[in-house]
């Protein structure tokens, strides 16, 4: 392990605190504050991975996760960006995309086969003859993709999501972002500032150059950070990468948690009144031969390794840069002990004279107008060839680290995501926005400025503009801030160089996808001439780095290569998430939330087996026998009770309530009579049946309605939608959760009922379809309906949820002498199926209309004035012979029941099984199926195909419905 600086004031590590981790099966140690990448580097690791296509060795490059070079598998999670992930005690780290090891990769030979894999390789090759494609595909699949994950891998960690609302959101916690946040906060506005690194400071954070009056930039950065953190109006989200920016000032990101947070990662969606983009710059990669060999790294990477992590990245450095930051870094790294063979600057002139002087003082050779052309060394750089930009003079230098960067380029992702048009500015060499969307402002280096005071001033200006947009200050203040900005140095001239003078066979424009200059040329020569097409065909920028490396070089190169054709310089579109994010983070906390009925605990105490059904948790069985034989037989021969509380329940009242009923239900609801229950159905505008239930008239303009469990949530919306133009005076209240339902069914049901009431509940006094409002034990008010869903004598008790426990126990005690038993949802399902009472959604699907399922008798055609939903479509469907019909069937030769959803076939699919069970009541397998009308005639043989049945078929025969108690005497007496 190399020695690390442990006294620098710019350090982000605590060298006294060791962190032990496992890399490739061996134990290593890093220190607190290390990223995985910095800890590995400190332990001498230089090759972090192999590249996607050619398996070239790759190492540290940007230190900000801009490419896949340093992605590794961490604790079983593939593609973790190790430059952005803090090291934790006990982590297990593995390399990816290697056969063998990154050091000795058995697929390394692929690099020599690049001639066989030109741009568009996959589109062009191995299609002729067609039969070789499946074989070739198998081999390609084996080597394709980065990282591996097992299908049953379970994502560890805790995830969360927050949706904060704020006045101003600032993207970027550098000097511009911080001054912007402070300026807006000073005006009394609420501000959120998000920064992708784990600390604030940005461009000032790792620099020792003077800010002013003897204060160093990093000190100024720390000072600003303290002010921001101390400001009560500012919420600081550190280690929070922006992943999306949208119109209407919506910004999304994800935050990595610290040990003190309750989450590992969380999704952040910020709604603001104003957005400030202060994302600064990244470095534009310098393109030359082997420009991604381990040991080649960008200026910020080299300097931050030393300043933030205390690691001198090499002993002998060579610099090939295009910006003053490169000169400043060379000086600082020299002072920290790096020998520097030379600093090549692609700019012929325009360097800061003080920096030139400082280099000269240290006897560092400065070559103006020079550039690196080739990095040598098989796995790590050991020598570099330099040349004048025109390629005339060349010279080699030995080195173990090559610091290379063509210049700076703005981080425009947030701007392009918000659909802002960018223009290439010839002076700065930047892509700039001439027009910003409403209430969106940019600040800092993204504007092309580089002077520290200008950067801060631009932040203040943006903060004040945002305050003005929020109505917190006036135009005069904006003018004053603009004037202050004008007095400071403006944008600086940028480097225009795109590539060194090389042929480009091994000069990489995109690291993730192994796209070289040569392959881009091939792409353009094949006719794909604009950046968007070049990107797709050559795959430059399609990798996990989300165009971090090729983003701006690609359009510049494409334009340059076709200068004569006048191709405009336009960057490719950036899309969310612009930083790779876990799907788990988007999923958030992932609670499994379900509603429980008022007597949930009683049901569980009675050994109910729960299942999640829609939004509810319900008892499906009361024993391990999932055929529910005992539950079914008890209802058929004795008496059972069921918790039906999940039914949708509504009160509808008001002078126009009946009009609403007439609009929604297919039946004539004016025929409702007090004391009677009316069963009816609702259709959609296509006549497809969406729900059924009962309606009871409680009084004048006052109705009680039930719907199926699944439709309860949408029913109020449905009523109001279809009456939205009418201005009718009615109110509808969803009382599903405030009311519970107990269903008491079986031949002994009346005997049990009689025990809890003195009222006459005989068949004459309380007949089938009757309704009574009753009071039990003088305190429990109940709505009681006489129904027969399961095909037996049956009562439904609707009571307030708070009375459910009492009524349940009352009925249970009353039923004890008859041996009353619980029954669950599955038993009910079989019971009602035997009676051919349908459940919508089970005996119907999206396209099934009222007539298909045999409910046409509910439809009243003489109420055109009501404009009943679905009536027009039903009239059209009435004579359509192509529709499915619901039929009953039984299995041939006493065969077993087919599975629900099995297909009815002959030479093609002719229908499907809705519900089928082996019936204990009937001693044979029966069911209902939706089939083409030709097959609907009684006696028709149905050929049934089940999944994975091969050539085996089972057969059923269409029979009349219902199967059980066809006359309904049991239900009605």
């Amino acid at each position: 392990m190399m020695t690390r600086f442990n006294q620098l004031p710019t350090l982000k590590i605590d060298p006294t605190k060791k962190v032990i981790f496992n890399y490739k099966g061996k134990t290593y140690s890093g220190v607190e504050g290390d990223t995985i990448a910095s800890a590995l580097y400190a332990n001498g690791v230089r090759i972090y991975a192999r590249s996607l296509k050619y398996h070239r060795p790759r190492g540290l490059y940007s230190l900000d996760g801009e490419c896949s070079n340093t992605m590794m598998e961490v604790d079983g999670i593939p593609n973790v960006r190790t430059e952005n992930t803090l090291l934790k005690q006990g982590m297990t780290v593995k390399e990816q995309n290697v056969k063998g090891s990154a050091e000795k990769d058995m697929l390394g030979f692929l690099d020599k086969l690049d001639w066989a894999m030109p741009a568009g390789f996959y589109y062009k090759m191995m299609h002729k003859p067609a039969r070789i494609w499946p074989i070739a595909m198998k081999q390609i699949r084996k080597t394709a993709g980065l990282g591996e994950i097992s299908p049953d891998f379970e994502m560890p960690g805790k995830f969360d999501e927050i949706f904060p609302r704020t006045d101003v959101v600032v993207i970027g916690g550098g000097p511009a972002g911080m001054t912007a946040a402070l300026a807006a906060a000073e005006k009394g506005l609420r501000v959120i500032i998000m920064e992708s690194r784990p600390w604030l400071g940005g461009f000032f954070d790792y620099r020792t150059a003077e800010y002013k009056d003897g204060v160093a930039l990093y000190q100024r950065g720390q000072d600003l950070a303290q002010q921001v953190e101390a400001n009560e109006n500012i919420r600081v989200l550190k280690h929070t990468a922006m992943v999306g920016a949208y119109s209407n000032c919506l910004v999304t990101g994800f935050q990595t948690g610290t040990d003190k947070d309750a989450f590992n990662e969380r999704y952040v969606e910020i709604r603001a009144n104003s957005v400030i983009v202060a994302t600064g710059c990244i470095e534009r990669p310098l393109i030359f031969d082997n420009n991604e060999r381990p040991g080649v790294m960008q200026v910020g990477c080299a300097l931050r390794m030393a300043r933030n992590y205390g690691i001198l990245p090499g002993e002998n450095g060579i610099f090939s840069v295009g910006h003053d930051l490169g000169l400043e870094a060379a000086i600082d790294l020299f002072d920290m002990g790096m020998k520097i063979g030379c600093v090549a600057d692609v700019r012929e002139d325009g360097q800061d004279p003080e920096l030139v002087l400082a280099l000269a003082k240290r006897n560092i050779l400065l070559l103006k107008g020079w550039v690196a052309t080739e990095a040598h060394g098989k796995k790590q750089v050991n020598k570099v060839s330099m040349s004048s930009i025109d390629g005339m003079i060349t010279r080699d230098f030995d080195c173990d680290v090559l610091v290379a960067s063509a210049g700076l380029t703005p981080v425009t992702g947030p701007l392009t995501m918000a659909q802002i048009k960018l223009r290439h500015d010839d002076f700065t060499g930047f892509f700039v926005a001439d027009e910003m969307p409403e209430n969106t402002f940019s600040a800092g280096r993204i504007l092309g400025i580089n002077n520290a005071l200008s950067i801060e001033c631009s932040g203040t200006l943006a903060g004040i503009k945002a305050a003005k947009a929020c109505g917190a200050c006036d135009a005069a203040e904006v003018e004053a801030a603009e004037a202050a900005m004008k007095a400071l140095p403006g944008p600086v001239r940028g480097s225009k160089l795109v590539t060194a003078p090389v042929k480009g066979r091994k000069s990489f424009i995109c690291f993730d996808e192994d796209t070289t200059i040569k392959s881009v040329k091939q792409t353009i020569d094949s006719g794909f001439d604009v950046p968007e097409l070049v990107k797709r065909y050559s795959s430059a920028g399609l990798g996990p780095g989300q165009s971090g490396i090729p983003g701006h070089n690609l359009p510049l190169y494409v334009a340059k290569y076709q200068a004569l054709a006048g191709v405009p310089v336009k960057p490719t579109t950036v899309r969310a998430p612009i930083v790779p994010t876990f799907i788990a983070t988007y999923a958030g906390t992932n609670h499994t939330m379900h509603k429980r009925t008022p007597i949930h605990n009683l049901q569980v105490a009675d050994k109910g087996i729960l299942r999640k059904i829609g939004v509810w948790e319900r008892v499906r069985y009361f024993s391990e026998d999932y055929s529910c034989k005992k539950e079914i037989e008890n209802v058929r021969n004795n008496v059972g009770m069921l918790d039906g509380s999940t039914l949708g329940k509504f009160r509808l009242h008001g002078p126009d309530a009946l009009k609403a009923l007439q609009r929604i239900y297919v039946s004539d609801m004016s025929k409702l009579k007090p004391g009677r229950v009316k069963y009816s159905a609702m259709c959609n505008d296509d006549g497809c049946v969406i729900d059924d239930g009962v309606v009871v008239m409680l009084g004048e303009n006052d109705y009680y309605i039930t719907t199926s469990t699944g439709r309860a949530g949408q029913t109020v919306e449905w009523f109001r939608y279809h009456t939205r133009y009418d201005g009718w005076d009615f109110s509808m209240v969803n009382i599903t959760d405030s009311m519970g339902v107990i269903n008491l069914s079986g031949p002994n049901a009346r005997k049990v009922f009689e025990k809890i009431t003195d009222e006459d509940v005989s068949n004459e006094a309380f007949p089938y379809s009757g309704f009574k409002e009753m009071l039990f034990k003088d305190v429990i008010p109940a709505k009681v309906m006489r129904l027969g869903f399961v095909g037996e004598l049956s009562y439904e008790f609707h009571v307030a949820s708070s009375y459910m426990t009492s009524l349940w126990q009352l009925l249970k005690e009353a039923g004890a002498e008859f041996g009353i038993q619980n029954f669950g949802v599955e038993a009910q399902n079989v019971l009602r199926m035997e009676k051919c009472h349908i459940i919508l959604g089970q005996e119907s699907e999206q396209r099934t209309n009222l007539l298909d399922v045999g409910l046409g008798f509910l439809w009243d055609r003489k109420k055109a004035d009501a404009k009943t939903v679905g009536a027009v479509a039903l009239r059209q469907a009435e004579n359509d012979p192509s529709r499915f019909k619901l039929v009953g069937f039984k299995m041939e030769n006493n065969g077993r029941a087919p599975r629900d959803g099995a297909l009815v076939v002959d030479s093609k699919v002719r229908g499907y099984i809705a519900t089928a069970r082996d019936s204990f009541s009937l001693n044979e397998a029966v069911g209902m199926a939706l089939v083409e009308s030709e097959l609907a005639k009684v006696g028709t043989r149905l050929e049934i195909y089940e999944d994975e049945c091969g050539d085996e078929r089972i057969y059923g025969k269409v029979v009349p419905m219902p199967f059980y108690d066809p006359d309904g005497t049991r239900m009605k007496s």
Binding site: R271, E717, Y725, Q876
Partner: protein
């Protein structure tokens, strides 16, 4: 979803709270003399304008009202009412 919607009862709220209810096509046509084609057009045909349209929204996670707003379909932003109608 970047869209915000102004509910007449609850004010400007996050678009997630609402359900889209389609273009404003006017009241249901009278059934008398209605051809199948005219009915299908009413139910299924949309203008799909690129620009400002009047449309229905339901405040499902709020007050439960149906109401109309004007929205520019090219920017997916709500725009002010009457002048947008012109």
């Amino acid at each position: 979803m970047a869209l915000t919607i102004t509910c007449p009862i609850c004010g400007k709220r996050n678009g997630y709270e609402f359900r889209y209810g389609g273009e404003d096509k006017g009241p249901r046509p009278e059934e008398a003399g209605l051809t199948p084609e005219a009915w299908c057009d009413y139910v299924h045909m949309n203008k799909c304008v690129a620009g400002v349209q009047k449309e229905w929204w339901f405040h499902k996670d709020g007050c439960g009202s149906w109401f109309t707003i004007h929205r520019d379909t090219t920017t997916n932003l709500e725009v002010k009412g009457p002048e947008a109608d012109k």
